[in-house]
Amino acid sequence: MLNTDYKDDILTVFLSGEIDHNRAVGIRSAIDSQINALRPRRLELDFSDVSFMDSSGIGLIMGRYRAVGLIGGDLRIINVPDNLNRIIELSGVTTLGVLR
């Protein structure tokens, strides 16, 4: 189950808990079906409640960047907690200009 909000053509997804390879698979398909159904102009991934993330989370971000880009939308990564900064910086996601 995914906690989402859709308003003004912006799809916000509230991620939570631990994002690893096991969970990323389900999160990915849940987000993609919403992207395809709603075709938002912007996808916001809210990381406020994410307590742990490994490189599977980076794959998830990069994949959604592509998925929303394919329908002409853009991606925003919001509310990244301090404990995830290190992996986000290492991954190069910052260079995409999606962090807010």
Binding site: D20, D54, G59, L90
Partner: protein, 144 residues
């Protein structure tokens, strides 16, 4: 350098066991009273190595993953993660950032880069057909 504690576990190469492995290793190193960031580094590195064994080593087929962990009196944590999967043909290529053989699964190709960045030392031994052993070492800072 004397070993003051050690543990061995083995578990099936199921992706639900990624969080199990992280929990076990966290509990094991707690006696050193690591900082939150040291603990997060270790959990992340172990998660990467175990995921590699599941996704690449066993290619999602069933197999066993073995973790041997030690704590030394010098406050060093040494964690060996071993599988008997397909092994790695070219280790230095596999360790290059962004290299992945599972792009369609959205693997970012950052597993080894994360391990190297989050741990003090990463050693990889592998032979095609015989599996892979990753040894992760981290020095836990002295107690304040």
């Amino acid at each position: 350098m004397n070993v003051i504690n050690e543990m061995h576990i083995r578990f099936q190469s199921k992706s639900t066991n990624e969080s199990f492995a992280r929990s076990v290793i966290s509990a094991f190193v707690l006696e050193l009273d690591p900082t939150i960031s040291e603990l997060a580094d270790i959990k992340t590195a172990v998660s990467e190595a175990v995921t590699n064994s599941i996704v690449h080593g066993y290619c999602r087929e069933s197999g066993m993953i073995y973790i041997d962990a030690k704590i030394t009196d010098a406050r060093k944590v040494i964690i060996k993660i071993r599988d008997k999967g397909i092994g790695i043909k070219d280790i230095s290529r596999a360790m290059q950032p962004l290299f992945t053989t599972a792009a369609e699964e959205e693997r970012a190709g950052l597993g080894f880069a994360v391990m190297q960045s989050f741990m003090d030392d990463v050693k990889v031994r592998s032979k095609p057909g015989q599996g892979t052993t990753v040894t992760l070492t981290k020095q836990i800072v002295p107690l304040r």
